[in-house]
Amino acid sequence: MRTLLFLLQKEFKQIFRDKGILRVIFMMPAMQLLILPWAADYEIKNIRLAVVDHDHSVYAQNLINKITASGYFQLDKYTGYYNDALHEIEDDDADIILEIPTSFEKDFVKEQSTNLFIAVNAINGVKAGLGAGYLQTILSDYNQDIRLKWVQMPKFNNSPNINVTYSNWFNPLMNYKYFMVPGILVILLTMVGSFLASLNIVKEKEIGTIEQINVTPIKKYHFILGKLIPFWVLGLIILTIGLTIARLAYGISPAGSLLTIYVFAAVYLLAVLGLGLLLSTYCATQQQAMLISFFMMMIFVLLSGLYTPIDSMPEWAQWITRFNPVSYFIEVMRMVVLKGSSLSDVRNNIFIVLGFAVVLNTWAVFSYRKRA
């Protein structure tokens, strides 16, 4: 026990003396939480529209007004030539072209049927799909409006009519930040845990100070615990800072209990630190450790459900996410912060992550050799 205390003292001293590391530990989470959520906004708005109007009729004018009044679209260019509009798309100045053919109004009145052409810059498939979807909804609304002017609708429905109403729970304003901030917090915790812990040990290896520890009577588990506990404490501090920032900057206060978050984070940090320790036992240089943990982080983050839903992934990728501790914590964070899930709602996730922690740490202790 006394040995462990001395080791802890040494570790804390080392961390607090290194101003660079301290800055990384405390500044990076703050910066990222303050900047990232502003960038990570998938909501599609301000779609830039180029209109090619061959018709110049009142109907066409009304249509354009209706589209720009919707708030989703801003008129980038109004022209008579398709090539002009295409050029806007090539220059990335417009996202969608709406082409109104010459006889738009005439056909509508005389033939009772008319055409419109939409061309979408589809390099970003999601944006293209949603943008075209919005535009078509507006067009069919417009269609409905003017149809009502021409046709007297019967007073009673003579055909079955199903009304669909919908409501959005937990996040009625559809604020994307509520979704991203808890997830980003998890990523920060993971980065601090795995990066710092593995770099810390490998640095001792590279400098050679680990030899000095190896020749002392310090036990393997003493050494591992001595490395683990300081970063575990740091991780919880970072979580606290992160939650405070989420509260102050974004007004996000967990709907569930803080206790649930901390209990889960405590277990989760053990697992992540175990991973960091394990990595460090297999790496000889800091460069190697960094690159490998970077590589793993990348896969973990991308396959965590932070950016894209896990349910949409193919079977093999979903299997990988089951071995990804990050995905469990992100799920729990979102459940507790947004929906107010309780400890018993997330108990499965806790047990799984606890399993990770046990396996990874045991593995790390066994693969750590007190020999060079």
Binding site: D41, I146, P160, I162, N168, M290, I292, F295, T308, K339
Partner: protein, 368 residues
Amino acid sequence: MKQFISFVRKEFYHIWRDKRTMFILLVMPIMQIIIFGFALTNEVKNAKIAILDQSHDAATASLLSEISASKYFDLEANLYTQSQIDETFKSGKAKMVIVLPANFQSDLQHTNSVQIQLIADASDPNTATTLINYASSVIRDYQLRLTAEQKIPYIINTQVRMLYNPQLKGAYSFVPGVMAMVLMLVCTMMTAITIVREKEMGTMEVMLVSPMQPLKIVTAKAVPYLLLSIVNIISILLLSVYVLDVPIEGSLLLLMAESILFTLTCLSFGLFISAVTDSQQTAMFISLTGMFLPTVMLSGFMFPVENMPLPLRIISHAVPARWFYQIVRSVMIKGLDISGVWKETVILIGMTIFLLGLAIKKFKIRLA
């Protein structure tokens, strides 16, 4: 020249001997392309939904069978009371609940009007919106079949054409992004770290006292990483053409030239970092926060730049990857030639010269 080559050779040995690092450097782009290409999609499918059916009649049964037949939804649970909805969401069992009212069929037949309520778990706003859209369209289809071909007058037909990417594949937007990310990682981070490492280990001192010019020593360190990046570019392009079916519309030569230009930008930045830092950890964190995060976040490949608040949009102009991303998109996917990307090219050249100048100015021949 002979000296220079032997320095390059030494650097190659460094990389070659560290098999793990080399393996990761070469495999990383391949993994990224595969993950981005097959696993990451914003498209929602197989979403878990629950049903609260209060009538259990023939009409609801046929509507439900239609909903569960759709590839978007997986029917996960049947609920019996309103209070279960909250529970289902909190335990994460379903993302949307469809509430069908009592007397569905008789209302539909006699009053011709019923109401269906869709409740979505909007903690993920995008999925919620998409699910509601999908469910509404399935219900609308069902209703259309009930209405049985009535002729509707005054129709505006719309024809939608998807330019450049008719199948709406995600690969078209991320292949350029992955290229930027990998090049950054290999060139900026690895270059910076290898040089700083020699400083940390003290071997830099040894090299500086050799008759070789200091600038050449540093250049010799960058050359292997330049070659490694070219290998990576080629493997990314091969994968995207043959595995992901993303065609190269424009000139391959121009694309390669622009990639090498961007590689040089990254290398200059790496050299600059190595000139101003003394420890590997600092070098690593500077390249992570100064180069990698901005690349991922502000280049427009993960998150749409036009949605960001003004300050971030202004900062994004200073990120080299943003311009490179635009160049690759224009050349590779839109098939434009140099006249379409000259502006971005000039900006990248400018940035490279600026960074390189800064690196040379900061470079010290003497240690400590």
